[in-house]
């Protein structure tokens, strides 16, 4: 019951009025919508290039399968982590990458006394919790030199969503490095990854507490 003032359409449309039943009227009006949709679909195809998570392997991430197969001694020489054969999204091990064997010896199943890894202990399986959201769990494995000093850390995690995987893959190597530097569980958290930092510190503390004498 409300009518448009003439100027709303009437005048602007006057060019159309001359050909009210033009054969191309529909095509002309449909064209922008069709162009937009096809451009959208085409762009999606061009843009959609999800980064494969295995790319993170080069940043020191190994698959749990190969890491689990690896013995304790091999973990010390984390710099030569075997290339992952398969990458599963949910379960990953982050291994510190920069620990040269102390005496330059090749990997050995029984580390020399004094080498890092003379003692080792596994921390508690800790929930990665942010308030009441649980993202997954992690377990820290700590290695100690014969003098009992913390000298290397590795961590297994199991989270359920892709985003947490990314956060973990970003934060855990940092936390490993910080722990090694601090030689204790008293480390600064990674910003943007508080939940995992907290879980990491807790699990590492448990590992230290359980250090074999």
């Amino acid at each position: 019951m409300t009518f448009i003032r003439r100027c709303h359409g009437g005048e602007l449309m006057s060019s159309d009025n001359s050909s009210p039943s033009s054969r191309f009227a529909l095509a002309r009006r449909l064209a922008p919508a069709l162009a937009l949709t096809s451009a959208g679909v085409a762009l999606i195809n061009v843009l959609d290039r999800p980064v494969d998570l295995s790319a993170f392997g080069s940043a020191g991430v190994a698959d749990i399968g190969s890491a689990a197969d690896a013995g304790a001694g091999q973990m010390v020489t984390g710099a030569t982590v075997p290339a992952p054969t398969t990458t599963t999204v949910t379960t990953t091990t982050v291994v510190a990458t920069t620990v040269p064997p102390v005496n330059g010896a090749p990997p050995d199943t029984t580390p020399a006394p004094g080498a890092c890894g003379a003692k080792k202990s596994t921390g508690s399986t800790t929930d990665i919790v942010d308030r009441n959201r649980v993202f997954g769990t992690l377990v820290v494995t700590a290695k100690f030199a014969s003098n009992g000093e913390l000298c290397d850390v590795a961590v297994n995690f199991d989270v359920w969503d892709r985003k947490s995987v990314q956060i973990e893959q970003y934060a855990l190597p940092k936390l490993n490095a910080r722990a090694k530097k601090a030689k204790s569980a008293n480390i600064q958290g990674v910003s943007g990854a508080t939940a995992v930092s907290r879980a990491y510190a807790a699990s590492l503390q448990a590992a230290i507490d359980a250090k074999p004498l």
Binding site: N17, A25, R29, L36, G40, I44, V51
Partner: protein, 456 residues
Amino acid sequence: MAPAAKLEQRRPLARPNSTNLKANDLVIVIVAIFAIVTAAWAMTGGWSQLSSGWSHAWRAAASLTGLYTSLFGMVGLTLSARLKTTERAIGLDRLLNWHRIAGDTMGLLLAVHIFTAIPAEMPVRGGFINTVLDFTGREPYMALTAIGSALVAVVVVLSLKDIRNKISYETWYFVHLTVYFGLAASFSHQITLGSMLSNDRYVRLVWVGSSVVIFATALFGRWWKVFGSVSRPLHVRTINKETDDTVSVLLGGRNVLRLRGDAGQFVMIRSLVRGQWWKTNPYSLSAVPTTAGLRVTIKNRGDASSAKRHLRVGDRVAVEGPYGVTTPEIFGDKRPLFIAGGVGVTPVCALLQRLPSDSRPTVLLRARHENEVAHLAEIRALAARCGGEVFVLTGRTVAMKGKDPFSAKSLARAVPEISSCVAVVCGPTALMFAARKGLREAGLAKDDIHTEMPWW
């Protein structure tokens, strides 16, 4: 007018269903949905995240604005679907005006969502550039999301009044339809990235479930009506020339019996003839709808309406509706006052037919010339039947400069006891706003002034 022979057999169509739902109830439902989602967000960590450092605050904000963006989209979608109950409660014009508000808000929130999501993810994605690259394709599903959001943005921008008025209704409408695709495309990232949705299984279940149900209801609810109107069309029964540039068309046929309708409502008309089938236009019923058919009176204005004047008897016409809540019940036992301009007389003509004989309506008609008013004789006769009066204000608007016919003073002079009337205003937007203003100043309550607010 229908042939006299038919007069005896015809009876009015069933009235539209009434509903107890009020505008306020709809608002309450919408507010409740927002409250529930906000609570879920707060309880799954959002609230405490907000106050635990910048990077957390950005994430919490991105999450909340994402949820709100989506909710406004869903609300807008539901409103535009013109579901029967909601339409009966507030009328198509208000549904679509609310839809505009939801749409505009969604556009703003989307911008905020994007600009909080970027800083939220920058620390874990290695800087601004990497984040943007991730958001436009390196992160799974984000290419879909980015394009979907771009489509939503285009739709919102094209709906800005100034831009909307520069393009034809149909061009705008077809582009508008791409928003279905845009919404669907931006869905998957909510599950893969959303802090709340990717991590809380039950919340996710409810969210995905209700999103799918709402989307499907809106899409099918809307298009089922279009399909129904096209598959069971009416036929043009008679065409009468009313004035130099208006014709009245009676749309009848077996399918009329399916419809419910009343005076004061309007229908969306789609002529199923070559070159016209893809356009719909709203037209008021200009007579009480009966089993003989719906009468609409069409003024030659733009593209589609002039083509409709070339309709021939027997042509098929798809009719959606009738829509609208300006039915005779609005008068209660108050005195009716009608203010109409130009072809706005059409619903007045229909409403007058339904007034009781002691209702004493006042009809103010605005036109450049008396012979431009369609159905004038009919209106005079109908008004006289129930003790009413008809005034026709003629002349060009410029010639009346200084004497605003719709100022509170002029209205009060023309209509005794004006403040106890219920007014119906129909006509050009300018007339409508002028009359509303005058009526408000003359003491009418907002609820006693009825118009179909322009919705495009």
